[in-house]
Symmetry: C2
Subunit: 277 residues, 2 copies
Amino acid sequence: MSEKRTDRECLVNGEVSEWVHHTDRGFTYGDGLFESFAVEQGRPRFWQAHMDRLKRGCDTLGIEMPPQELLLRDTRTAAAGQSRCVVRITLTRGVGGRGYTPPEDTKATRVVSAHPWPEGLDTLGRNGVRARTCELRLALQPALGGIKHLNRLEQVLAAREMQAHPGLEGILLNQEGFVISGLHANLFIVVDNTLLTPRMDRCGVRGILRGLLLRDFKSRVELRRLHPAMLGEADEVFLCSALRGIVPVTAIDEHEWRIGKVTREMQEWFEARKAAT
Amino acid sequence: MSEKRTDRECLVNGEVSEWVHHTDRGFTYGDGLFESFAVEQGRPRFWQAHMDRLKRGCDTLGIEMPPQELLLRDTRTAAAGQSRCVVRITLTRGVGGRGYTPPEDTKATRVVSAHPWPEGLDTLGRNGVRARTCELRLALQPALGGIKHLNRLEQVLAAREMQAHPGLEGILLNQEGFVISGLHANLFIVVDNTLLTPRMDRCGVRGILRGLLLRDFKSRVELRRLHPAMLGEADEVFLCSALRGIVPVTAIDEHEWRIGKVTREMQEWFEARKAAT
């Protein structure tokens, strides 16, 4: 085992390390949660919204959330010296237990790591993306709906499928055939100036930017089941994610769109929102 | 981070270690598979059946299966000096990649660890278990049906639920309300000397012992959707797992059974089967 440690870029339970124990339940069962976010000049973007989602995930899984100050300190340490990077916080139930049954007195494992800013992330908003519906259909699991947990095999399988279509973004439907989201972002369609987006109560992730959109544009957004046929009636389509911002969708399968004024309005909102946090 | 290494009991990629990298996709996404099995006097029980299931899982996820000889060597090294133990093989897609998309040239990570024989495992067969239906319902995901992957949050949630009912085994239904399995084992019901067991094509795990039963008792087993009401018509009910063997079920919710002659026959079959491999 070669210990290729890069100074301070990863902390495990607050100490510089790149290694987790093989009996950590994150590794054995995917028993945990994660958050990925931008850190610019030491300031994590949309921090409180990420913490709120992490807390909801902890409540759902019955994991004790570490104090936010601890996670913030780890984040700043991991990102130190980088003008802009992505930080991932992984929080697992901890080490051990007999099989699926969690141990009585486990302590959550927290891993906080900094990663280079992904190439090409900034240009997505300008030109938009073309997309394609994945064959993989998301399973319905209300007990895990909306939270950002570590059981991500569906997304991995969909991403593998999309490797045959380089440059295209994947669109995910659920087992009932309704549109749920993009592979890396939530999805909104614009119909007559109203923003429609699916509920995330039975599958999918409640995205941070989606949550902020629902709050800031309460009167213009409707939560709706989206049948793929509704794409034909959409004036505009966009994806949103805390990392990527508002990304116009210019095509899904046979449907095509120009980048519209509501999408551009949302991009301006995002820039202002980003600067304000 | 304290390095509490116990000599040779865990191998990571063939080397003595208890640690996996924090970017291992097993940890970040549950992107991998596992097998747990008994090793007695250095002989892994039902080895080929476990290897066959692992291979099917690798094919499903697109992970390259390491040579069996390597896994066998690791297993023997990890279990060395123990008269009886449980060995777990965890196989992940490997380290890294940008988000969900797997890296082009990753190499699978293999973790092979030995664990003490669980207390109480041997007496289950004698007295049987009482069981209770879990509230958690398994999601339907044909793309992952039957394989033993690392996305086990549903089982963890069901196990947490069962902590309120100590001593009872959990019975899992799927989202449609059909009986799928026990929390730690597959399930068979006996009706008029015929063995009925559910298909594992949309959820659940294709158990090793289940597979051997299907092969050895081909003419007496039927794959069947099991509505919970069918429990009322069952003469006998048993659970089966490669580790636990054939475990009589004496109660599920309001239904009760005596330990019957077919169950006892299967227990004799298991003892003979075990000795023969």
